[in-house]
Each structure stands twice: as C-alpha cells, then as structure tokens.
Symmetry: C2
Subunit: 318 residues, 2 copies
C-alpha cells in the first residue's frame, strides 16, 4: 500500500474514475482525459477546464496562510489550458464553506481578484455556498474557459524532441492529503515547512503561450505527477531531473519511497514543454523572460516515461 | 432567527457574500450577480454559470436515491443560462468525494450523462477529486457555458407585463439544510416525503428558449426563492400563487413560517417568464408543448416583490 493510499487517496481508483469519465462523456475536439477539452466555435476553439485545490485548504486553515489557494485554483486551470494551446480568458469560482465566515470569504475573494489580475483572466461570476454537513473548512474550485486558433495535443511530438522544464514553487496543489498525514503523524515539521508548502501554484500559461508556435506538446505536472506525461506522447520520454527543492527532500525523508515521490509530486518542475531540437535555443531565450527554464529530458524511440533522479536511480513511472 | 439560519445557512450572510463577489469582480456584459454573466466573443455572447446541488447530496446518500442530483446539478445551470437568453452548449462537472466509492461515482457519472442528453448539453470534461477531511459524503457542482446572439437581462420588463410560471417538481435543489434539520428533529417524515424531496430540478431551458423572442425577462426560482425576482426588474412584481404541492405544505407544517417558505422554497413554480400582454396567448400555446404554464402574476407601477399566497396572505418578499 502506498503512502498516498494510506492518506485516503488511492491514485489507482482515481485513474479508474477518470477512465470512466473519459469513456462515458467522450466528445469535444480533444476528448475527455487530456489537460483540457475544446469545441469548435466559429473560427476559434473554445476550451474549458475545471479543477480544485484539493485538501490544501485544510493546511491553509491550519497555518492561517489562506491567500495562496486562490492562485492555486486559477493556476491549476490556466496551466492546463495552456497545455492544449489555449489562452485563458474567463473564469468562475466555486467556494463551498462549512459555515458563514466573513473574514475567510473576504480573504479568498480578494486573493482570487489579485490572482486573476496577474493571470489576465477575468472572473465573471462564481458560487459561494454554505454547506453544513458536507464541507469541513472550505473547498475551492474554478472553471476557466480559453480560446485559441489551433489546439496542441502532443500529436506532433516525435523522437529527438527536447523537453524543457519550468521550475515549480513547491508541491503546488497536489499530494496534500499525504503531506497532512505526515505532519499529523509528526514525520514532517509544519513549523519548518509551512511557507514552502503553502506557496501558490505558479502561473505558467503566459510563458507557454509566448512560445506557442514552437510548442509541440506541454505537460502540466499535477496530480499523478510524471505518470501523466503519457497524455502528451506515447513515445518514450526520458527525463533527468536535478536535485529537488528541500521541501520535497523533507517529504521523502518523512518516509515516502523515492518512486512514489515522482508519482505524486512535481519534484521541482511544474511544466514540461516539448520542442523540436532546432527550436531549443530560441524557445529557451524567450522563456527566460518569464522564468528559469532548464533542459530536463528528451523524447526517444520506444515507450514509457523514465526519470533519472539526482541520486542516479532510473524509475519507470508510466 | 429564521428556521434556515438555525440549520447553519444564514441567507443574509450569503447575500452579503454575493454582494462582495459582485463588487470585487465586476466585468462581463451583464455583470456579476445576475443569473449568469457573459462576454462578447466575435458576433456572439458567451455565457457562463457555476452552481452546485448543496446539501441535497446528504439526503441522496440517506435515501439511496442518488441519480437525481446529477440532473439538479446541470439544471441549476441550464435554467440560469436560459434566464439571460443563452442556449447551454457545454458543461464540466466537479465531483468531490470523501473517499473512493466505485458504485457512487459510477451512478453519478452515468446519471450526468443521461441528464446531459436530455438537456442537449455536452459534458466535455470534469474533475473527480477525493478529499478526505474536507468532504463528507460527496459534493457535486457543474459549470455550463452557453451561447446567444443577444442577452436578456429584464431591462425591457415594464408595468403591464404578464408573468407566466412553469411548475416545479419539488424543492429542486434549495433549502435542503433546513429540510434535513426538520427530518433529523422528527418534524418531517423522510419516509413519507423521500420521493418528493429527491425529485430532480426540472430543465426549463428548452421551454424558455422556444419562446425567447417574446421573453422580456425570466427568473429561475432557486436559493432565496422569490426574493431574487428583483434581479429581473425593479418594477413592482405582484404574484398570486395557487396552493403549493403537498411536500411544501408538509415542510410548512413542520414549523417553518409562511413568509420564510416563500423566501426559501419555490412553492410550486421553478421558472417565471415575463412577457408583453400582447404575447401571452402565443407564448402560452408554445409553452404548453413543453410544460403546464400558468399565469401567476403581473408587473405594476411601483417597486417590491409581493406574493399573495393561496391562503390570501399578502407577503412583501423584497
């Protein structure tokens, strides 16, 4: 049994639920189960995606660091939309509360506004629901709609392509049921890592969209971490990741097996961008205006997603 | 203190949260705080709305009658979109679970599929999240996107207009924290009213859209019930509602004051359509193809929302 399963989150079950959703709904230009789906509307593609911040809300309440989850909520969606080449334009939020709480609502709404300005996405509505008996603390999810002239699914990715990674700011918004269990069992110090754990998910969409004409595929590293890279390509992906930030090493030291770390956490990179070798130099130059890109892997003949960790371990993750 | 407040849901607080959201976000063609907001996209308007089914999920689990909440979740949104003249086209669902539960997920996903076919709305994606510690039972929300060539906000409604009501199938998806408290206190028999309480929210959007060129305003009766009619018009609204279905009378007998009944529950009508007196006959004829419309009120000079109940009581609700 994995450490994550012991925390009540069974990634195998979630994968099966996603598969059920994919089989049941189908439809759209991309299909269900990619980073986002889209429909044709006139000459454009309209993309839509929904995602929440998971149980990070409980850690927000525990630490009193509330605001970052607002950005998490938007970024989980804007980054996913960018992975299919879509520019996020509007959003709605869904805030469900255990009970009325003026200070909490005000802090979240203001933080959503601030994050939406940074993301250049307009929040045009939302639902604030009080749900005693269903919600403990609060739950926060967003739906974001984007537009594009074309869609990127990764179908153009081919052996020889280079994978550029954009650094993460921490675990972003995934793996928090596991993290909270490690904290509650005294295996991870909340005092030492509260700031690292509560840092908001980085917005990657502006960086990705700035080089869109050179992007052959993009993979937002979220729930399921590197196992999800198969969404972008069926070719063999070989990643070589440097030493992760300290917070990930602390989680690993708390007793999470190395392989599970790379299946649950982003381990330092929140976005992978697949480009043709001839575009690498230009893309790296452009991305440096937004972030600190690093070449972290390549696409090869064959199949499977492999990661060579900083310790030299080679893991097959998918 | 109202009966609803005693159940943990303070409508005054929720109104203040909605007002905060409206002030903070602004933007869009309609603005935040109406039934749905919209943006201009090329020659069309793109509308978006998010809503959940509230604590009806707990009653679903208690009764084992799960499927209706899937339709609730879509209908709460498609009906709101129709109120601004928008035809719903695509949706995403957000299902948050306490723990993995294969049977529950399968029943909900299949019911969502069935409801989406009836609604003629395509579900193009969704999120299924397991959130131990945040969720008890499950939470279900949807975001629906619609398109239209023009928007209806009620600005054309004027004194003399006739209000046509479309019957509800029960309390739909509002007031369930209050209903559950009445049940748990032994004031309302779940055994006698389980079927009535679990009936799904009716889809009204096809009926409304079928007469759209004659609709001057439309009001979906949901949370806040008839107090929300002020969204559609600032003119005086005078409603005369017939005897409500038995389930509402049973809730009232359980100890909810008459005025609160009309501020929390739809009391038998889920959709109000505002039309010019010259259009009434034609609109009624068309609506009869979809439902059993009834003339339930009129717009007068002045302000306020008044309801004359079947007992003859006149209530000012807003």
């Amino acid at each position: 049994m994995s450490e994550y399963s012991k925390s009540g989150v069974d990634l195998g079950k979630i994968r099966r639920y996603h598969e059920l959703v994919r089989r049941t709904f189908g439809g759209g230009e991309i299909g269900v189960g990619h980073y986002a789906n889209a429909i044709k509307l006139g000459d454009h593609y309209l993309s839509i995606h929904v995602d929440g911040v998971g149980t990070k809300t409980l850690l927000a309440l525990q630490t009193g660091i509330i605001e970052p989850v607002a950005q998490d909520c938007l970024a989980m969606n804007t980054n996913d939309l960018a992975c299919v080449g879509s520019r996020p334009i509007i959003a709605v939020d869904y805030l469900a509360l255990e009970r009325p709480n003026d200070e909490l609502v005000e802090r979240i709404i203001r933080a959503l506004k601030k994050a939406s300005e940074e993301a250049e996405v307009e929040i045009v509505g939302g639902e604030t629901a009080v749900m005693p008996g269903v919600i403990t603390g609060f739950d926060l999810a967003c739906t974001v709609v984007g537009v594009s002239d074309r869609l990127i699914t990764g179908s153009e990715v081919s052996p020889g392509d280079v994978i550029i990674g954009l650094p993460s700011s921490g675990p972003h918004s995934n793996g928090y049921s596991l993290v909270r269990r490690l904290i509650s069992e005294g295996r991870l110090s909340l005092k030492d890592y509260a700031q690292d754990l509560m840092r908001p998910t980085k917005f990657y969409h502006k960086a990705v969209l700035s080089v869109l004409d050179k992007v052959k595929g993009a993979s937002h590293i979220t729930g399921g971490a590197y196992t999800k890279v198969v969404r972008v390509t069926k070719h063999k992906v070989v990643l070589e990741l440097p030493e992760p930030p300290e917070v990930f090493k602390a989680i690993e030291r708390a007793g999470v097996p190395e392989e599970e770390m790379y299946k649950v956490f982003n381990m330092g990179f929140g976005m992978l961008i697949f480009v043709d070798p001839t575009s690498v130099e230009e893309v790296m130059r452009e991305l440096k205006k937004y972030d600190e890109p690093a070449i972290v892997g390549k696409v090869e003949e064959g199949e499977g997603v492999y990661v060579r960790t900083y310790r030299g371990t080679v893991l097959r993750l998918a």
